[in-house]
Symmetry: C2
Subunit: 244 residues, 2 copies
DNA sequence: CTAATAGTGTCTCTCAGACACTATGGT
DNA sequence: ACCATAGTGTCTGAGAGACACTATTAG
C-alpha cells in the first residue's frame, strides 16, 4: 500500500484486475454432503460445472457481493439470507486462473440447511445440488477452492458451534450428530456425542414443549435450537483427526 | 464466475480494481509482540504508519507479491524468505477503504524470528518494528487487518506448531514458552508447558550435542530445533481462552 | 550465600472413549 | 415380537492444572 502504483494511480493506465466472488455452498442431504454448482453456459469451460459466483460491483464489498450471489443462486429471500452462515475462505489469484483476463476471486463458504430445492430466480437457472463425494472436475480452479472449503468446514466443526448452521431451526441431537458424521466421514459414539454437546453451555438449548419428532421409526427425539455460543471449549476433536 | 461481467469481458470497459497485498509481519522482541510498520510518505494518510505492502503485479499471484514485499521490507535475502512462515489472512474490499480508487487488498500474516534490524533496501527506508501493544491509529483499515492478524496468530498457536516460527533455528524451551506467553498475554506453568511440548511428537527435537546456552543467568538450557510436525493434537489451549 | 532459570516428579480433576443398559416408538 | 432410534449410567485411561522439589549457573 505504500509502494507507488505502476504508472501512479491512474485507474485506467495499467492492466486492470477483475474481482469476483466464488461460493462454496454446502448442505447435508440424506446423510451426504452436497454442494451447489451451476452449469456454465459460456465458453471458457462451457458445459462444465462451477461454483456459483460473480463480479464484485463497484459499490460493493466482496462480502456484500457474496451475500447477493448467495440469495440469487439459492433463490432465498433477502430476509433469510442474513441468517445463513457465510464466511470468507481465501482469495485465489494465480495469473492464469481465468484464460480471458486477470481475475482475482474471493472465495466464500456458506452453510445452509437442507433446502426444498435451489432453482434460483437469477441467471442460475441451472443451479443444482451435487453430492460432494461424487464430483467430476470443475471449471477454473474450483476443485482447489472446493477442497479448501471442505477442509475449512471440517476443521471449524471441531472448535465452533457451526454444525447447527446445517440444521433447521429445530433439530434433534441425532440430526446434529449426522452433520458431524457426514462432514467428517466418521461414525461417532452417540452417548458420548450427547454428553459433549449438552455439557457445552450455549451450544444447544432444549425446546421446552413436549413436542417431539421422529426421523423414521424409533423413539421420538427431543427438539433443540441453536444456542448463543459460537466457540466450543474444549473442542470436539474428530477421531484420529488432523486439523486445518 | 458464471455471471456476465458488466459490459462483458472487455478489461477496460468498466471501472477497474487495483489489487494490493498488505503484510502483518510479527516478531517477538524482549518479550513483547512487535509488528513491522512503514511510514507513509504520500498523501492519503501521509505521515501515518501503515502495514507494509504493495501492488500485485500483472504476472504475480497475491502470494508471490506478498513474498516479494516481505523480502523488500525486511531486507532479507531471497534465500531466507522462503523459509519464513507466511499465510493468507483474508481480503479487505470495502469500497471506500482507499480514498483514491477502488483497492482490494489481500492481507497476509508473516512470522519471523527476532531480526537484527529491518532497514529494507527497497522503498521501505522507514520500516520499523513497533510494540504491538502500544500502537496509535494506522492508515486505511490497517487497524482492522492488524487486529484480525493478531487474533489469527493467537488462535493458530493453540492447534499448530507455529510458535517455532518466531524462534531462531535453535532455541530453548524457555524461549518457546516466552512466545506463547507474549502472544497470548498470559503466564504458563513451566513444567506443564515442557511436558506438553515434549509429549507432542515432532513439535521440537533436542539438539544432541551437549552445547547449551543461557538467556542471562541461571542454569543453561538444552537447545532444540523445530520438528517436522505442523499440527498439535491435542491442542495446547490457552487458559480461560477463547479461540478464533 | 542468594537469585534466577532449567528440569523432574506427583497428585488430582476433567473429560473423552468404550460400552452396557433402559425407554419408546413403528412395523 | 422385533427393530430402530433416543436416552442414561459407568468404568477407565489420557491429559491438563497445580505445585513441591532438585539441579546448575551468575553474582
Amino acid at each position: 500500500m505504500n509502494a507507488a502504483a505502476p504508472q501512479g494511480y491512474d485507474p485506467h493506465a495499467f492492466e486492470p484486475f477483475a474481482v469476483t466472488v466464488d461460493l462454496a455452498v454446502f448442505t447435508v442431504r440424506e446423510s451426504r454432503l452436497h454442494v451447489l454448482l451451476v452449469e456454465r453456459g459460456e465458453d471458457p469451460y462451457k458445459g462444465h460445472w462451477a461454483l456459483p459466483g460473480g463480479f464484485v460491483l463497484p459499490s460493493e464489498s466482496a462480502g456484500t457481493a457474496a451475500r447477493r450471489e448467495l440469495a440469487e443462486e439459492t433463490g432465498l429471500t433477502e430476509d433469510t439470507v442474513p441468517s445463513l452462515h457465510l464466511e470468507q475462505l481465501g482469495t485465489y489469484s494465480e495469473p492464469d486462473r481465468d484464460p480471458r483476463m486477470r481475475v482475482v476471486s474471493v472465495a466464500y463458504a456458506a452453510l445452509v440447511p437442507d433446502l426444498p430445492e435451489p432453482r434460483g430466480g437469477g441467471d442460475a437457472a441451472s443451479a443444482q445440488w451435487w453430492d460432494a463425494g461424487r464430483l467430476g472436475t470443475l471449471a477454473f480452479d474450483h476443485d482447489l477452492i472446493l477442497a479448501d472449503a471442505r477442509a475449512r468446514i471440517g476443521a471449524k466443526l471441531e472448535y465452533t458451534c457451526l454444525a447447527t448452521a446445517f440444521c433447521p431451526p429445530e433439530f434433534t441431537l441425532g440430526e446434529l450428530q449426522q452433520v458431524y458424521e457426514t462432514v467428517w466421514g466418521v461414525e461417532l459414539d452417540r452417548p458420548n456425542f450427547r454428553r459433549k454437546v449438552l455439557a457445552t453451555p450455549g451450544f444447544v438449548q432444549a425446546v421446552e414443549g413436549p413436542p417431539r419428532r421422529t426421523g423414521g421409526r424409533g423413539k421420538p427425539a427431543a427438539l433443540h435450537r441453536a444456542g448463543a455460543a459460537t466457540a466450543l471449549h474444549p473442542p470436539l476433536l474428530r477421531p484420529e483427526g488432523r486439523s486445518t
